[in-house]
């Protein structure tokens, strides 16, 4: 595995995808952002299967931004699979959600999320959050050693 600087964004809402990309752009993050639209595709990408069969499975993203409500396989199930696989066990995962339902927060941390971020309605706050996310996970955080 090698470091790629890639951010994997798992998000089914096209508006949220566009706004998130815009927010990262505004906060001057130059990292490549790969967008997948459901839980199944996220797993395919991570484990280089299905539509992403040709991908180099060793090239893991730097961080995964994972929406909780997703079509097919939901965010928490994706997180469970990530934590269960030796190749992705230590991958930083930030759970994104619209709600601040206590149950979502508790389940996310129980399943091994590294962080939990609520998507604010206010776009300004959203840009702030994205900036912090990028700063923390891509600059400050010491990545886990490669397996």
């Amino acid at each position: 595995m090698s470091r790629t600087g890639i951010i994997l964004l798992v998000e089914d809402n096209p508006d949220d995808v566009e706004l998130t990309l815009r927010a990262f752009d505004k906060s001057k993050l130059a990292n490549e952002i790969v967008v997948v639209h459901d839980g199944e595709e996220a797993l395919d990408y991570l484990f280089a299967t299905g539509a992403h069969a040709g991908r180099d499975a060793g090239a893991a993203p730097e961080v995964v931004l994972l929406d909780i409500k997703l079509p097919k396989i939901d965010g928490l199930a994706v997180l469970r699979r990530i934590r269960a696989d030796a190749r992705t066990r230590r991958l930083p995962v930030v759970v994104l959600t619209s709600s601040n339902e206590e149950q979502d927060i508790v389940s996310s941390y129980d399943l091994g999320a590294n962080s939990f971020v609520r998507k604010p309605v206010d776009f300004t706050q959203f840009v702030e959050a994205a900036r912090h996310l990028g700063l923390y996970w891509l600059v400050l955080n010491e990545s886990p050693p490669l397996p």
Binding site: R22, K69, T97, S99, V121, F123
Partner: protein
């Protein structure tokens, strides 16, 4: 079961006589000559029943009885008082002190032992029931011993009796599993014994085996006629008898002993006559049959006694001074508890009119004093038997009724439980639906808002050059509305969460929670100052999380509505109410409200101020109301425009009637 019987009597003869009788009946006898000795024996804790004399050298038996009844262990100890003082007033004293039975001297040892055993049986159940006990009734001591030995070797418990009368008493007393009786005996013969057993509701289920030495071919027929279950000849091998008994015991339905008192068991008869001579004669004749006889000299005395102690049969003289026999009879038959006791009128007159009058007053039988005593005894036996059958029938009817009642109660309980389970399921389903609904509201309703706000902002940033002041204003309004919609959704969700989360009560320091909430408010607006007074030591038994939300709303409101005051004041305190829960309150000197609208304050989305004056969603007090409701408390408001508001609430603990 404790088989120790305490015998307290100052007479050595009585002590020895009773001790011998009790020991022969399988009890352990503890002999005491004085109250002091009795106290020491009772302190040992092994006494299962007591027989007390009234006159003791160092005290009074009745006083000792009162002591026993007052002791923590003494309430249920069977106590029989035995006394020469057998006048009604003496009986009254003994029975009032809590005697289970009062027997006058001269006494019949058989009666005393049987009565004690019956009292023990009532308390502890029949110790012999269901056991393999065989009663052998035979006048030949040799044969009795030989047969008894054979049964003992075969593992049976063995009871022996030498006459038919004794045999019946032992049977009533010990309830053997099977009865073996000799056909030929002096006194009542074997067939008569079996016939009496068959007539006794308590004993009639006991299998009877009749044996005889006679070569008479009709003996077997007579035995079976009398109701014997099996017949054997004496010269037959003991093994044959053992096999027959084993076969009888295998018969289904022979085992459980009925709860009814046996006819041959200890019976008490009240004899009422103004003639001491006749009373004496009558008592002796009845005592010979094993009955305990209580004497009364007048109708008044008889009524007084019946108010204290029940008896099994009443013999009542028709002609007496004072309250006559007829009137006494009428009064007995009118009293609810004693009217079922068989009552036989006695008279010297062979008078048809008197007889009819007697029956009219409710007597069960009528007998002339000139009749033979044998006839009198037979009549008494017949009355006792009739009463026993009535009791037995009543018991069976009551048992039937009770089991029917129990069955219908069980049916009812089952239906209630089923209905309740169905309701609980329905509620559970509704709650799940509501939860799913709130969840999707929180996720799905917010997403479009984010898009509206985000793209509005993008429009301002990317196309600023193509928008004039007016266009930018419109966009600002759109974004402000989006913000407000977001807040409304958040508050609504908070309100629904307050309603559906589980209530977990614990001791909560209200003052500490308030302090932490105030710190938070100050941290958000460090530039503001206010006088805050939080009463110390306020304690409730409530859900900590909900209490925090409650105070966040109340103190948050007070903080908000005092923002425009020159010297804001916020106070948390409690008014102690007797009786009742303390009334907590949060008071401020802020904008206040018009009391005319006080009722509207706690409904969702109701606001008494414009958003421009004081921003808000109108959900805060609705949430407060919901939280107080869930704790089973009350909430209300007092205020005046421009002079501040006070919100009062109670949070009853679960014990004091709060719902959970």
């Amino acid at each position: 079961m404790s088989r120790s019987v305490l015998i307290v009597d100052d007479s050595l003869t009585v002590r020895m006589d009773l001790a011998e009788a009790f020991e022969a009946a399988g009890f352990q006898a503890l002999r005491c000559g004085s109250a002091a000795e009795a106290r020491a024996a009772l302190a040992g804790g092994t006494v299962g029943a007591a027989v007390l004399d009234v006159l003791l050298p160092d005290g009074d038996g009745v006083a000792l009885l009162a002591e026993i009844r007052n002791a923590p262990w003494g309430g249920s100890l069977p106590v029989l008082v035995l006394s020469t003082e057998a006048e009604v007033k003496d009986r009254a004293r003994g029975l009032h002190a809590g005697a289970d039975e009062y027997v006058g001297k001269p006494y019949d040892t058989g009666y005393v032992v049987s009565k004690v055993r019956e009292l023990l049986r009532v308390r502890e159940g029949n110790p012999d029931a269901g056991s393999r006990t065989v009663l052998i009734i035979d006048d030949s001591e040799t044969y009795r011993a030989a047969l008894g030995g054979a049964f003992e070797r075969a593992g049976y418990g063995v009871l022996l009796a030498s006459t038919g009368e004794e045999g019946l008493r032992v049977a009533a007393d010990r309830r053997p599993a099977v009865l073996i009786v000799d056909g030929m005996m002096p006194g009542i013969d074997g067939a008569t014994v079996i016939r009496r057993v068959r007539l006794d509701a308590a004993l009639r289920g006991v299998p009877c085996l009749l044996f005889t030495a006679s070569e008479d071919g009709g003996a077997e027929l007579r035995a079976l006629d009398a109701g014997a279950d099996a017949f054997v000849r004496k010269e037959e091998d003991v093994e044959v008898i053992l096999a027959k008994v084993a076969a009888l015991l295998r018969r289904p339905g022979a085992a459980p002993a009925p709860v009814t008192a046996s006819l041959a068991g200890p019976r008490k008869i009240l004899a009422v006559d103004d003639s001491q001579t006749y009373l004496q004669e009558l008592s002796e004749a009845l005592r010979d049959e094993g009955y305990d006889v209580v004497q009364a000299r007048s109708g008044e005395e008889a009524l007084e006694l019946l108010a204290l102690q029940s008896v099994d049969c009443i013999l009542l003289d028709l002609v007496m001074p004072g309250l006559g026999g007829q009137e006494t009879c009428r009064r007995i038959k009118a009293a609810p508890v004693v009217r079922d006791i068989p009552l036989v009128l006695l008279t010297a007159r062979e008078d048809r009119a008197a007889m009819i009058e007697g029956f009219g007053a409710g007597a069960d039988d009528y007998i002339s004093k000139s009749s033979e005593l044998d006839v009198l005894r037979a009549r008494v036996r017949a009355q006792l038997r009739r009463k026993q059958f009535e009791d037995e029938n009543r018991r069976i009817r009551e048992d039937l009724l009770r089991s029917e009642l129990e069955a219908s109660e069980a049916r009812g309980a089952r239906q209630v439980a089923e209905a309740r389970a169905a309701l609980a399921d329905e509620l559970e389903r509704k709650n799940r639906e509501l939860e799913a609904f709130s969840y999707s509201v929180s996720h799905d309703l917010r997403a479009p808002l984010r898009s509206i706000d985000g793209f509005g902002r993008a429009l301002v940033e990317d196309c600023a050059d193509r928008l004039d002041e007016r266009g930018r204003h419109h966009l600002d309004r759109i974004r402000a509305a989006t913000q407000r919609m977001g807040e409304l959704i958040d508050d609504l969700l908070a309100l629904s969460r307050v309603s559906r989360s589980e209530l977990r009560r614990e001791p909560v320091k209200l003052s500490d929670v308030a302090r932490s909430v105030m710190e938070e408010l100050r941290r958000k607006e460090p530039e503001r100052s206010a006088t805050v007074e939080l009463q110390d030591g306020l304690l409730v038994e409530a859900d900590l999380r909900l209490v925090r939300i409650l105070l966040e709303n109340l103190l948050g409101n007070a903080w908000k509505f005092t923002a425009k005051k020159a010297s804001p004041r916020i106070e948390l305190g409690a008014r102690v109410e007797f009786p009742g829960e303390p009334h907590f309150f949060v008071r401020d000197n802020g904008a206040g409200f018009d009391m005319a609208y006080a009722g509207k304050l706690f409904s969702p989305f109701q606001r008494l101020h414009s958003d421009k004056e004081f921003p808000g969603t109108g959900i805060g007090l609705a949430t407060v109301q919901r939280i107080v409701d869930r704790h089973g408390g009350r909430v209300w408001a007092e205020g005046a425009v421009g002079r501040g508001a006070a919100i009062f609430f109670t949070l009853p603990s679960a014990r004091s009637g709060g719902r959970s």
